[in-house]
Symmetry: C2
Subunit: 305 residues, 2 copies
């Protein structure tokens, strides 16, 4: 009999997001100038000794999945670009060039397209992205936006998910949970914060929180070949959110990163001076083996679930 | 009263594709390293004196628009990558790295995803593209694939749409029309042919034919600030196709290019030796003013029409 991954009856929903991605990236051929292929927040391209490496990322937002049909389209445009920028931030990088793909129903009013475009341009101006082209297509269904971004990062400031070490302190920026109250459309990608971090200390591992801490922290730990202890009472929650919401709502777009434990106190005091209005919270530590205290609540957002 | 482009009642279908794209790209900010922004087959990035420039392109295919739901998914995967490769070819470039975005319904069988992926990988292997990552999302509607590609081109071999000159000979590769009979899924992007052309002569202007000669030739001529004379009887038609089909079916993915008229005869004889199985046809000439003999038939494919 065929296993569950092989039967023709198995759907993407049954496989789940991580398994779907794993199928797509297994054994991908990579060239000699591919420093990091699939599996991190961005692909990293270049030669090991280049002073700067190129970052490359795509991301998409879809009506009825990532935004409601009645949503202000300028916020949707902002979100589409900001999501990809959050991935550039997660590598410690700076954005360069963007391409926009819009698939829209032909009955969509032109002023809605103009609003989308205004939101994209607002984000592009604020974060210094040159939008160098766009494709349009007709969608027979939902409105669909895809963003392709390039960026750069100095090779000694590029941070992967895989650099975490046992006993590293785990930090998260901002507050988690409740993103659907509005933050998922208006969030600020943590580009400045990530650049500050890599200029002030050695960040071992970093990623952005898109699917919720409960989905993303295990990914960072697994990439670093570590387990982790999470101090659930320390997790900074958005006002009114339960622990479960802070863990699993997703779309926080905050930075999750680890540093050597000995750097913790100086990091915390200099962070407070640099970013007095953005909370930075130590929420646990990487470990040799996983020690999750409350496994039942530990499930993030799965796009296909 | 508001003009037709300003009224809130105007839809994308009423505006038409070129007007939609024009709205999206007007006044886009570009950085100093943007050599070609929106409006050509790819964006061109780099500094003017760099030996090689970077090409950047995205493209998408959508179920029920670009392929039927019952289509062999491996052919769909091939098409998704080959379309973007055709744009790299149109600049005279070579592909480098690709990122794939797939939005799929959760009830899609996993084996269909595997087939899509097989088609993408087949095209990536054949044309030497390193696929360096992929995003997946759930689609509440049709299956949607977007491809982002980078490439490179020597700066003295980069061909834009805008370099055509009055009295240039206009050429097209292959045969036009009838793509829906199957070619739209199995076509070969003309990368080798374009590289051969730029190594053998000065190509003034080039693009790939995606929306049909009737839509695309006026775009090339306008970008070159020229009119054109089209020799309609010379247009190479796919067997069984009418002139109208050859002009307007679209999805030919052939090269349309111009060279100085004095180069025509040597081009034709050396082409026959290099590509004995692929037709090359001189179909007209650029002119100072437009001289279209049969304007009524002259309408290409409009995605929003």
């Amino acid at each position: 009999m065929a296993g569950p991954g092989r039967s023709s009856a198995v759907t993407l929903g049954q496989l789940g997001e991580d398994a779907v991605v794993a199928r797509l990236v297994r054994g991908l051929p990579t060239g000699s100038d591919v420093l990091v292929g699939p599996g991190d927040d961005c692909a990293v391209l270049g030669r090991p000794r280049d002073a700067r490496w190129t970052l490359f990322k795509t991301d998409c937002v879809i009506e009825n999945i990532h935004f409601r049909p009645d949503e202000d389209a300028s916020r949707v445009g902002w979100k589409a670009l900001a999501r990809a920028l959050s991935d550039i931030a997660a590598m410690g990088g700076e954005p360069s060039h963007g391409l926009i793909t819009i698939a829209a129903p032909r009955e969509m009013p032109a002023i809605r397209l103009d609003a989308l475009d205004a939101g994209l341009r607002k984000a592009a101006r604020r974060f210094d992205v040159a939008i160098v082209g766009g494709e349009t297509a007709r969608s027979p269904g939902p409105l669909f936006l895809s963003v392709a971004l390039t960026g750069t990062v100095e090779h000694d400031r590029c941070v992967l998910r895989s650099g975490g070490k046992p006993r590293d302190a785990i930090y998260v920026t901002g507050r988690l949970g409740g993103s659907l109250q509005g933050k998922h459309l208006d969030f600020i990608p943590r580009l400045a914060e990530a650049r500050w971090l890599t200029s002030h200390l050695k960040v071992h591992a970093m990623m952005d929180l898109s699917d919720g801490l409960a989905a993303d922290l295990p990914r960072l730990a697994a990439a670093s070949d570590c387990g982790f202890t999470l101090w659930e009472n320390e997790i900074p929650r958005t006002r009114g959110c339960t622990l479960a919401q802070a863990l699993a709502d997703g779309e926080d777009y905050e930075l999750l990163f680890t540093v050597a434990a000995r750097e913790a106190s100086s990091l915390e005091s200099s962070w407070r001076k640099a970013f007095p209005r953005l909370r930075l919270t130590r929420i646990g530590e990487l470990a040799l083996q996983s020690e999750i205290r409350n496994p039942k609540s530990f499930r993030g957002f799965d796009h296909f679930a």
